[in-house]
């Protein structure tokens, strides 16, 4: 929400009103995000119900280890985010910067691991499209599983990229000394966004990776 620009924008009566407005704005935005991913989860539920075996088989090809590592990475990045917010409340600008950088590094690590996984799937011909090949279970429904895998994790990754960009913007402001105990709502609202993206992954992980882990 770029509206938190100057200390007090003209349309607001005071800083408290401004801060409340931007927080509520972000929450509203997150609700729209819930519904955006909700469409994918609904589709997933329908086909998971229709083709349990193939979804299981598709899930088995995913790398549980990399997935788990990524889950941990994201959870850690959520911790660095709350620490950044915490330090912002206390006015410790340098610590804020450090935690933001840490968050961005963790985010980048997540994306890097994701890319490695995508690379594997590409080599295994598991990317839906003309070259798709799947042994072991019915190919057609299995393709659906990979369709969901790529679209869901892909949309999630796009959100991560946006999040990293937002952190870069917050970092730039913070370095210019614009993050103060009185006025740090952009740290907070970008934080809210980041946590949301984390939660999406918390659900994607079991639904995609852990389905077939026991076999």
């Amino acid at each position: 929400m770029s509206e938190t620009g100057g200390p007090l924008a003209h349309q607001f009566a005071d800083l408290a009103q401004q801060r409340e407005a931007s927080t509520l704005g972000m929450w509203t935005f997150l609700v729209t995000e819930v519904m955006f991913f909700g469409g994918l989860f609904a589709g997933y539920a329908v086909y998971r119900h229709a083709f349990p075996a193939e979804f299981m088989a598709g899930s088995r090809t995913l790398d549980v280890l990399l997935g788990s590592v990524n889950t941990v990475v994201l959870i850690c990045s959520s911790l660095t985010v709350v620490l950044a917010v915490h330090c912002a409340q206390l006015g410790q600008t340098r610590a804020v910067n450090a935690w933001i950088v840490a968050t961005m590094v963790l985010g980048a690590a997540f994306l890097a691991i994701k890319l490695v996984e995508y690379g594997h799937k590409w080599h295994e011909n598991l990317v839906p499209g003309p070259g798709f090949l799947f042994e072991g279970a019915n190919e057609t429904p299995a393709r659906l599983f990979f369709g969901f895998y790529f679209v869901m994790t892909g949309m999630h990754a796009v959100h991560m990229v946006v999040g990293i960009g937002l952190w870069a913007w917050v970092l730039a402001r913070s370095m210019r000394g614009l993050v103060t105990p009185e006025h740090h709502s952009h740290v907070e609202i970008v934080g809210l966004y980041w946590h949301f993206v984390d939660i999406v992954w918390i659900f994607l992980f079991p639904l995609l990776y852990l389905l077939g882990a026991h076999e």
Binding site: E3, Q11, F12, L24, G25, G38, G39, T140, V151
Partner: protein, 550 residues
């Protein structure tokens, strides 16, 4: 609402600085963050889209004069109704009232200087324009022929027209719409003037709030659905393609999850406008204020539970159909509440039939007919017959053109003095309202008959026995088209030649009437403090002299 702010400036002050004169030049408009200027930017853009959509409608009606498909080719006709539907829905009616009157009035009615996020508001307009330009590019470079509903697998596999470009345009416009809704929600929650409790809010604000809820909760699902169709076209994922194991009916679920609530995005704002107009032109507090306000929220919430009524014969399970049908009937009740309360407001009022009121009464009548025919469609046994016939076409034009567009025009007339600082010519305005009413009914009433006779929609050529009714419909459409050109002409004319408007030409209540016409840049000289409920038309208060209004 009475406010303790200084008494309104007298009309002589119309010459002094206002939002229109606060800056000149293209840049002062294209980079403005003033909600009132953004409202005007939207007004111009959507009028343009309405003309384009209307132009396609005229071509369709011309084709349908004769049963044979002789004027345009089938391919062309299919593109015409698709682009007509896409443009009218996504680029005209959904943004219509929220982005123009809503943008202009929401801050003013709640005593705020602007929306909570003015730059986001401007961004929303740019997104709208970008989405519109992409869609228009698709139209010009060959068009798209899937119907506005984009049913799969036709749209995802078989159509070879510009599906992806159109989808992208709608996707972007969707974000514009989400940003507007988000802005309104936050503004209404956080920016109300001191003393303006929820129970004192104007009904228009209630309607905008309900609309915004629907926008923010529904539009994202449309966005992801469109993305899936595009991905399906690009990568053959198979989610909606039966040849690849997918289910085309899933697309319909996701599409209607948004698009049924979207019909309430289109009509709720008009309902808000009508509530304001009916109060002002009867000089009465609306009968059952709480019920009208609450029914807006009820419609917004219940509206999300009925989408399957578009899919009774689609292969959806009978049991799901039963649930959706039942819930569709429940959502009719809050609409009924509104209609009855408006009518009751007229009772013992001081009714003045000026142009905005004519539109409002027109809305009530036509919306009632449109809504009642919705009951036919929600009835499973009947829908088997009338589904995808002209009965449906007539139903939604009655609500969207007879209802929503009439409400929009009523609102434009009602607030025109506030927006432009000028009065519109009353006689011409009444005349064109009458022309529109007649033209409208002549266009769309025969379509109910056609529908029950069994004429399917989206037909470029049809059986001979439908000819006479189609000719009537086309005749009506010509009257309707001409009727739309009139307001365009005289409203533009009034900008230069008409009398300057006073702050409160209708003697209405509401904060927007307490500030000069046109309002100053920050809306109010001083933040108003509200001490009364809205619509305190006191009994015995001086009755407006109609002579004041030309």
């Amino acid at each position: 609402m009475t406010s303790q702010s200084p008494s309104p400036a007298p009309a002589v002050h119309a010459r002094r600085e206002n939002y229109l004169t606060a800056g000149y030049g293209v840049k002062s408009w294209l980079l403005t963050t003033d909600h009132k200027r953004i409202a005007l930017l939207y007004l111009i853009s959507i009028t343009l889209f309405f003309m384009i959509g209307g132009f396609f409608a005229v071509l369709m009606r011309l084709e349908l004069i004769t049963p044979a498909g002789d004027l345009v080719k089938a391919e062309t006709y299919n593109k015409l109704f698709t682009m007509h539907g896409v443009i009218m829905v996504f680029f005209f009616l959904i943004p219509s009232i929220p982005a123009t009157l809503g943008n202009f009035l929401v801050p003013m009615m709640i005593g705020a200087k602007d929306l909570a996020f003015p730059r986001l508001n401007l961004l929303s307009w740019y997104l709208f324009v970008l989405g519109g330009v992409i869609t228009l590019w698709a139209v010009i470079s060959g068009g798209v022929d899937t119907g506005w509903t984009f049913y799969t697998p036709y749209s995802s596999v078989y159509a070879n027209t510009h599906v992806i470009a159109t989808a992208l345009g709608i996707f972007i416009a969707g974000f514009s719409s989400i940003l507007t809704g988000l802005n309104f929600i936050v503004t209404i929650h956080k920016m109300r003037a001191p003393g303006l409790r929820w129970s004192r809010l104007p009904l228009f604000i209630w309607a905008m709030y309900a609309t915004s809820l629907v926008i923010t909760l529904g539009t994202p699902v449309l966005a992801i659905t469109i993305v899936l169709v595009a991905l399906e076209r690009l990568f053959q994922i198979g989610i909606f393609d039966p040849a690849l194991g997918g289910d085309p009916v899933l697309f319909q679920h996701l599409f209607w999850f948004y698009s049924h609530p979207a019909v309430y995005i289109m009509v709720l704002p008009s309902m808000g406008v009508v509530s304001e107009i009916v109060a002002a032109f009867t000089r009465k507090r609306p009968f059952g204020y709480g019920f009208i306000a609450g029914s807006s929220l009820a419609i917004a919430v219940l509206g999300f539970l009925v989408w399957g009524h578009h899919m009774f014969v689609s292969g959806q399970s009978v049991y799901a159909g039963l649930v959706f049908s039942l819930l569709s009937y429940l959502v009719a009740i809050p609409s009924a509440v509104k209609v009855f309360n408006w009518t009751a407001t007229l009772y013992k009022g001081s009714v003045s039939l000026q142009t905005p009121m004519l539109y409002a009464l027109g809305f009530i009548g036509l919306f009632t007919i449109g809504g009642l025919t919705g009951l036919f469609l929600a009835c499973m046994g009947l829908d088997v017959h009338v589904h995808d016939t002209y009965f449906v076409v007539a139903h939604f034009h009655y609500i969207m053109v007879g209802g929503a567009v009439m409400g929009y025009l009523g609102g434009i007339h009602y607030w025109w003095p506030k927006i432009s600082g000028r009065l519109y010519p009353e006689f011409l305005a009444k005349l064109s309202a009458l022309i529109l009413f007649i033209g409208f009914n002549l266009t769309f009433f025969p379509q109910f008959v056609l529908g029950y006779l069994g004429m399917p929609r989206r037909y470029h050529a049809y059986a001979d026995e439908f000819a006479v009714l189609n000719v009537m419909s086309t005749a009506g459409a010509s009257i309707l088209g001409a009727g739309y050109l009139l307001p365009l002409a005289y409203l533009l004319w009034s900008l230069k030649y008409s009398k300057a408007a006073e702050p409160n030409p209708w003697q209405a209540t509401g904060l927007e009437w307490k500030t000069p016409s046109p309002p100053p840049k920050d809306n109010f000289e001083q933040t108003p403090v509200v001490t009364h409920e809205s619509y305190d038309y006191l009994e015995g208060a001086d009755v407006a002299t109609e002579a004041q209004v030309v």
